[in-house]
Amino acid sequence: MSTNYYLPEDSVPLPPKHAEVLTTCCDYCIVACAYKVYRWPLGSGDGGPKASENAFGIDFPSNPLQDWVAPAQHNVVMHKSIPHNVVITPNKDATTVNTNGDSSIRGGLIAQKCYNPKTPTRDRLSTPLMRIYGILQPVPWDFALDVAAEVAKHVIAKHGANAYSVKTYSYQFIENTYAITKYALRHINTASFTFHDTPSDVTSTPGFRDAGFDNFGPSYDDWASADVLMCLGTDPYETKTILFTQHIMPGVYNGMKLIMVNPRETAGVAFAKKMGGLHLDVYPGTDTVLLGAIARIVLENGWQDNEWLKKWVNNKWESNSGFGQGTRNTPWQWRTTWGKFQTKGFEDYKEWLLSQPEYELDKAAELTGVDAAKIRTAAEWIAKPKADGTRVKASFGIEKGFYWSNNTGNTNAISSLATICGAGGRPGQVVGRFGGHQRGGRRGGKLPRNKSPEKVPGRRRRALDTDRWLVSGHTRMAHVIGTTWIQAMSGSQGLQQRFHELVVTNPHQVRTYDKQEIIDTLKARADSGGMVVINQDIYLRNPIGAQFSDIVFPAATWGEEDFMRANGERRLRLYQKFYDAPGDAKPDWWIIAQLAKRMGFDGFDWKNSNDVAEESSRFSRGGRKAYHMLKIYAHRQGRTLHEQLRLLGADGIQGPTFINEKGELKGTKRLHDTTMTAEMIAERYGDNGPGEANMVNKKMTHFNTQTGKVNLQKHPWSLFSDFWTWLKPKDDELWFSNGRINEIWQSGFDDVERRPYITQRWPENFVEVHPDDAKARGIESGDYVMMYSDRVAAQKDTIIGVHNDHFQFSELMKRGHIELSKAAVTAVAVVTPHIKKGMMYANMLDTRQPSNALSARVVDHISGNYNYKMGVAKVQKIGESQYKKEFRSMSFAPRNIT
């Protein structure tokens, strides 16, 4: 762990001419900026300030925007067991993504990520650990793997595959996610499987999915070419920095207007306002109402894009073709059974929308807390035709603050609003997610949803909720890969308590030196109703690793193995290995393969990560980042898939990939590309259409629906309003929300704790409080506060839904399926006007002070996702922090200074 005693350096070695240069990309946010690694042996001589003396080939002092090395961009690592200097700086040759070598604070500091025992990375896991006599003790790989595999085989044989729960990251490189899902889904075939950010394996954006929008259809330059760009639930400056600084900002300088829907006014929002943009500061969870009100104004004035609606929206008959008929087990089916979402096309949608009382302007202004005039202005900006009658080009981008506050309602609403404005798959008129983590998922198996015990109304089963399953005592072995599980979920203190009961208080604890006795003890724990925990990670996490794990496997990660991954515009690049993993740490694909082989599964005999990547390629066909044709192309050139990607360097290639008739390799700029001409199609696939193994599906030129046209959906407030009304602040409570912050976005897993400069900036959890709310409670910046609640709702039972409203929050409450518990989280107060009055905002995941303790452990009853951003809490001062009086760390300056 790093401390906040950070001392800046005032010199740095420059890479010499003889430094080797490797390309890689940043490990953190969705944008995945291109970086260069300069590597040279320690003591072999550093570079000098003259162009002839350094690897950059430029004179120092360098000029603004030229290459430069900050002290934090240098590190010392082991390469082939010999100490080497590395300098990792943004790739100035990049012509895409971080054009001209721009970088964020997170990527800018990525050299600090490398394991170096002299830095706060010294506690990287470097050997397998096993809890013996209560202590996690180093053991050899074979010993740890044998025990884990024996216990796993027993648990699965005796308690069923669903007793073996796999909770894993979804993004940490294609090779690893393929191996993990092949193991968990194809071979173990457990329904108790999910990713790091959701209790069940379900889509993050149900509205997009059902409307037919891919999350990541647009290209980065598409976001710069609208007349108006609406950003919801995120400040892209803070959380996809380079998408903002290299694409959106230039768009704004060219006249694009920004509408920021966000209860906070951070730097990008302040910039938008300064440039004439609009800030719609909604109360948490009310976006659906805001968008309903905007849509209503658009429709009342007839500003909708009729031409688009006619051509690209399903009418009554098209809506009913392919779903909604009978009881097929499709994601759509049970919703349409309800009649809550499906429309018979535009006129039906319009009639429905105009009949919703909450979407009348005054009512919406009251519910959302947004000034009515601003709502009207937003509607005019995105849809009112220009004086010459031509349409405004509007684009719509969303992220977590939006889709994790009313998951289904919000994503349905934005899909419909975007569609009536004519957005979707054309330059300057796109819809998508801006993105969170990078896209490194590749499934090697399918979730056996029919093995889930939970049934929703209609006949459809819903993906198993791994948290509720565990709380109910059905999970006998938990396999946790690269996530905290507990703090990353909602109502997390209750979840942690249950882990403790199942693991720590169980009488069957390892108190022996004998391998067979260890195995027998852990089997006995599982059989007695307890739980065994195995954990793969790069650091020992508390509590999942430190308190609950029986076995810990040390993982090798970024820079320690060749890996591939895509970014938020489906751009695939190779992340090269450039140094030795610490100690005996191994990549996750290797760990999984060793376990799988011991469990008797075939198909895990990979020699290296390229073998895994190549095996996985055929499963990518038809997907948004399909790289199968890239592999075929590589083989034709006598190369491996990884070698081909290495040659493609900083700019990589955008999936899906194709080989055209001339044998040329082609990528894909945008999905749902409704403006593609015959010539463009011929260029990509050839005159006679896609041949060979090329796979072209609807999403290339149409939308992801039964007809290829968009499903225009209703977005009723009533499905969410009972929860919202129950939750909204009572008495002295404030809204409590949480999220990422620029300095630690998608990098918190190793950044905030181990990057001295970041630790200095954010030494612990913070909470932003509006000055009026703070004053009323006697709170000043720098005070320690306790945020607490005695009504953290948790859904406790797995139920069989029969009637339409069985999963509705008020019905769950009435029928006794909701349990209220208490939670308390401390933080350092930041009193600032950039947060909306009446709400608080804290860091989403400080593992010591987990914000999610205060959000409800009740899933969106349509999708199965948590609405992590929805909580309420009281807050009181409990003392003063050191940061109030000293000047070394933190900052209490507001984030909206322009």
């Binding site: 800046p8 005032d10 010199s11 070695p13 925007l65 090395v69 800018g108 400069y757 900036r761 050191q882």
Partner: protein
């Protein structure tokens, strides 16, 4: 690593504060780190050797002539590239590394440590907060009360802070914390 200019602080005789002490600034915690503290003329000073960098001592301004919130530009540690700096009296708010009776006089590099953007004219007063930025390039903002730490933005380090010394009415620059953008050493033969 590259060679650093090392010498005895005592011999140098000009640097009032070592770097660590400077960082600790106005806190009472300074007392815990006095093992290498160097106060010329005090008992501790004589035998202690510590590494300080051989920065020049440069006269900047007269305290009596400084006006609140009126930044003064100067070059430091030399007149070469990337040495543009700002001295400012921040109007009776105490700052880390601040000098003067109110400890409100500070000086920083004027180049954003992200990509060298010019921060001239971006000094802001917001309540009792004092900042430089947004940088015109990529919107970084720095906190002048807290050693130039990033408030919001993309820099890889705090804004380099110039260590100041007050002798009578004269303000001198005597050292620098952090590396100037574009340089690999602050003291270059440019």
């Amino acid at each position: 690593m590259t060679t650093k200019h090392e010498e005895s602080a005592v011999a140098h005789g000009k640097c009032m504060l070592n770097r660590r002490q400077f960082l600790l600034g106005a806190t009472s915690a300074a007392a815990t780190t006095t093992t290498i503290t160097l106060f010329p003329g005090t008992a501790q000073a004589a035998p202690v050797k510590a590494r300080v960098i051989g920065y020049p001592r440069k006269f900047l301004a007269k305290l009596s002539e400084l006006k609140d919130h009126e930044p003064l530009a100067f070059n430091y540690p030399d007149d070469g590239k990337n040495t543009t700096c700002t001295l400012v009296k921040m109007g009776n708010v105490k700052a880390g590394g601040g000098i003067g009776p109110q400890r409100d006089i500070v000086a920083f590099s004027n180049l954003c440590t992200h990509q060298g953007g010019p921060l001239h004219g971006t000094y802001k007063v917001t309540g009792d907060q004092r900042t430089l930025g947004q940088c015109p390039f990529h919107l970084s903002v720095y906190d002048l009360r807290r050693h130039g730490i990033i408030v919001s933005g993309q820099a890889y380090q705090s804004l380099p802070q110039i260590m100041l010394e007050l002798e009578g009415d004269d303000i001198y620059a005597v050292g620098m914390m952090g590396l100037l953008f574009g340089r690999h050493e602050n003291l270059m033969n440019t």
